[in-house]
């Protein structure tokens, strides 16, 4: 799932503009930081997604009292929970960095990368999703099942938005 996320994101970022390789605008360091930060952030959310899926499968096994291969092979629920939390802690600041550098880069060049664009909006929604995850964890001290569900749904949603944003960009750019 994680490599798929990376590929989709790479397609989303490069989009139709990528067919113009001679454009020096893409060699701007801001753009490079923007792409790298986004790639790593989505990879980290991918890890949190995997941790969440494994958590839910293992918890279902233990709850149903049918200890299958999941039970035998997976690490403990607490370990899976911790993997998800750490991954989001890595991904969230990088997402902010990616957004900020993206907007800054967009303002300098001819390639509009402002709030009005669909993929920028999708990135903001992703930010809100994972902000919700972290607030739930830090302020309300949630862990376990709830967090796993947020990590799984959040990742699916943000990927869907990214795809939608990318398509919208191809069709006309602004919403």
């Amino acid at each position: 799932m994680m490599p798929l996320g990376l590929v989709l994101y790479a397609v989303g970022v490069m989009g139709p503009e990528a067919v113009v390789p001679a454009d020096t605008h893409f060699f701007n360091p801001l753009f490079q930081v923007h792409v790298t930060a986004f790639l790593v952030a989505y990879a980290a959310f991918g890890v949190a997604f995997c941790g969440g899926v494994m958590y839910l499968l293992l918890a279902r096994d233990i709850r149903r009292k049918q200890l299958t291969q999941f039970f035998l092979r997976l690490p403990s629920l607490e370990a899976l929970d911790s993997i998800g939390q750490r991954a989001v802690w890595v991904g969230f600041p990088l997402l902010i960095v990616g957004l900020a550098t993206g907007i800054a880069w967009g303002q300098h060049g001819t390639h509009a990368w402002g709030l009005g664009q669909a993929k920028v909006l999708s990135a903001f929604v992703t930010l809100v999703i994972y902000l919700y995850y972290l607030v739930r964890r830090v302020v309300f001290r949630w862990s376990g099942r709830h967090c796993a569900i947020v990590a799984v749904i959040g990742y699916v949603l943000s990927l869907a938005l990214l795809l939608a944003g990318s398509f919208a960009g191809r069709l006309g750019g602004h919403l």
Binding site: I62, K65, L72, S76, R141, R145
Partner: protein, 455 residues
């Protein structure tokens, strides 16, 4: 089984045939091992001997001469347990050769134990081996056999899941707790009631580092008694929402005829929990002490005695399925050991052949040197070395091939054919020195190897 190299046998009794009343009378205490091994070593016909005594078995392993195995009489009469042979009738077993090797490997692998895959047996085999070595009752063969058995024990535990699943209710509970929380170090737990099963489960949890431990019991004396038995500090508490919000594991094992933990209580406790961690409820009481509806509460895992028993049954079945894999490993390892053991059969022939050629060389050397008296000492030595080198070169290939052919039984009777061709039978009739004992044969073989490589 093999002429000359002896036969490996095992005799004794195990939990398969003998009830505990019999087993306990034949059990050998650790401090009695040296004396028993000494007796075994001196038993007529026993070349090498070892003793394995656990709560499941008492067995004598012996390397003996061909013919009647001494393992059984050594076991029934030699160990001084005071039981007559006819009293033991029907409880005893006796295996020979390949079957005996397989048996020891199966014992070390844990598949002959009452609880398949139990971990203690490997340590007990090691103790038996160490004791036999200390007493000097094992030689080349049993030493190698026991070392091989220990390797088999380690291999099956590394390559199969024979020991991987909990097969008792308390262990299953602990395994589940570890699957939920990972490390149990410093996890708070509550035990309700002071029943035996609950105590045993708590003991396993404490071994894993669970602390602090709260106890809800009918009286403080019971809490103190339990603390004294477990050797840890326990804190008396009542069962309420507050304590349920604090702990991660609850073990209920009281004799109360009704539920002591309700679903409403657990729901409220989960809301009060500072960290929204999971809560693991273990109810091993009958009638149940924990409302089954608690299992519906989010982040709560609730197991009763039947659920745990079901886990144990499933785990036993898993271990049983692993036995097939373990048996395959045992067969493979037995074949490997037998190849080594059978190769020893060729050793007396190789040694006799070397002695025969050495004899010829010595005769011819003396004859030649008698005619070469005019040569200086240095050249006379060169002539002697030439003869020795020639014998080594000639013997090297047949020795290697003879041992290889004997180890996999490729050409049955090849050693006899070699004996016939070189007249070794006549040579052995002529002088008793050319019929070496296996111990001598070993050292001879090594010497022969060294010489072959040198030549």
């Amino acid at each position: 089984m093999n002429q000359g190299v002896g036969r490996i046998t095992v005799a004794g009794l195990t939990h398969h045939l003998a009830p505990v009343e019999i087993r306990e009378r034949l059990a050998v205490a650790t401090q009695d091992y040296p004396e028993m091994l000494n007796r075994l070593r001196q038993w007529p016909g026993v070349r090498e001997g070892a003793l394995l005594s656990t709560c499941n078995r008492s067995e004598v392993y012996a390397l003996s001469e061909e013919g009647e195995s001494p393992a059984l009489p050594a076991f029934t009469e030699g160990l001084g347990h005071g039981m007559r042979h006819d009293e033991l009738e029907g409880y005893l077993f006796h295996y020979d050769g390949e079957r005996a090797i397989e048996h020891l490997f199966a014992v070390a692998a844990g598949i002959d134990s009452a609880i398949i895959g139990e971990p203690q047996i490997l340590g007990q085999v090691r103790q038996a081996y160490d004791a036999a070595r200390a007493a000097g009752s094992v030689g080349t063969v049993l030493d190698r056999l026991f070392q091989h058995a220990l390797e088999v024990g380690k291999r099956v535990r590394a390559e199969t899941a024979i020991g991987a699943y909990a097969v008792s209710v308390p262990y299953a509970a602990v395994e589940l707790a570890r699957k939920i929380f990972g490390d149990l170090e410093g996890r708070p737990a509550l035990i309700i009631g002071t029943g035996d099963m609950g105590e045993l489960t708590l003991k396993h949890l404490i071994e894993r580092g669970v602390a602090p431990v709260y106890v809800a019991a009918r009286s403080l004396e019971r809490v103190d008694d339990l603390a004294a038995r477990l050797g840890v500090e326990l804190v008396a508490r009542h069962v309420d929402e507050q304590i349920l919000a604090e702990v991660d594991v609850v073990v209920a094992a009281s004799a109360a005829p009704h539920a002591l933990v309700s679903a409403a209580q657990v729901k409220a406790a989960m809301r009060r929990r500072k960290h929204k961690r999971p809560l693991f409820l273990i109810d091993i009481a009958v009638p149940r002490n924990i409302d089954p509806l608690t299992a519906e509460v989010t982040n709560v895992f609730s197991y009763n005695i039947d659920d745990l028993a079901q886990v144990v049954t499933a785990n036993r079945e898993r271990r049983d399925r692993e036995v097939i894999k373990v048996r395959a490993i045992i067969l493979e390892e037995t074949a490997r050991f037998l190849a080594w053991f059978n190769a020893r059969q060729a050793v007396p022939t190789v040694v006799a052949l070397r002695q025969r050629l050495d004899h010829v060389r010595a005769e011819e050397e003396a004859r030649a040197l008698a005619k070469l008296v005019h040569l200086p000492e240095k050249d006379r030595e060169a002539v002697a070395r030439y003869g020795q080198a020639l014998v080594n070169r000639i013997l090297h290939e047949p020795s290697v091939r003879l041992r290889a052919a004997t180890s996999d039984n490729r050409y049955p009777g090849l050693d006899e054919a070699v004996g016939y061709l070189f007249g070794l039978d006549q040579a052995s009739n002529a002088g008793s020195s050319s019929s070496p004992s296996p111990g001598d044969a070993d050292s001879e073989r090594q010497g022969e190897d060294n010489r072959s490589h040198g030549g």
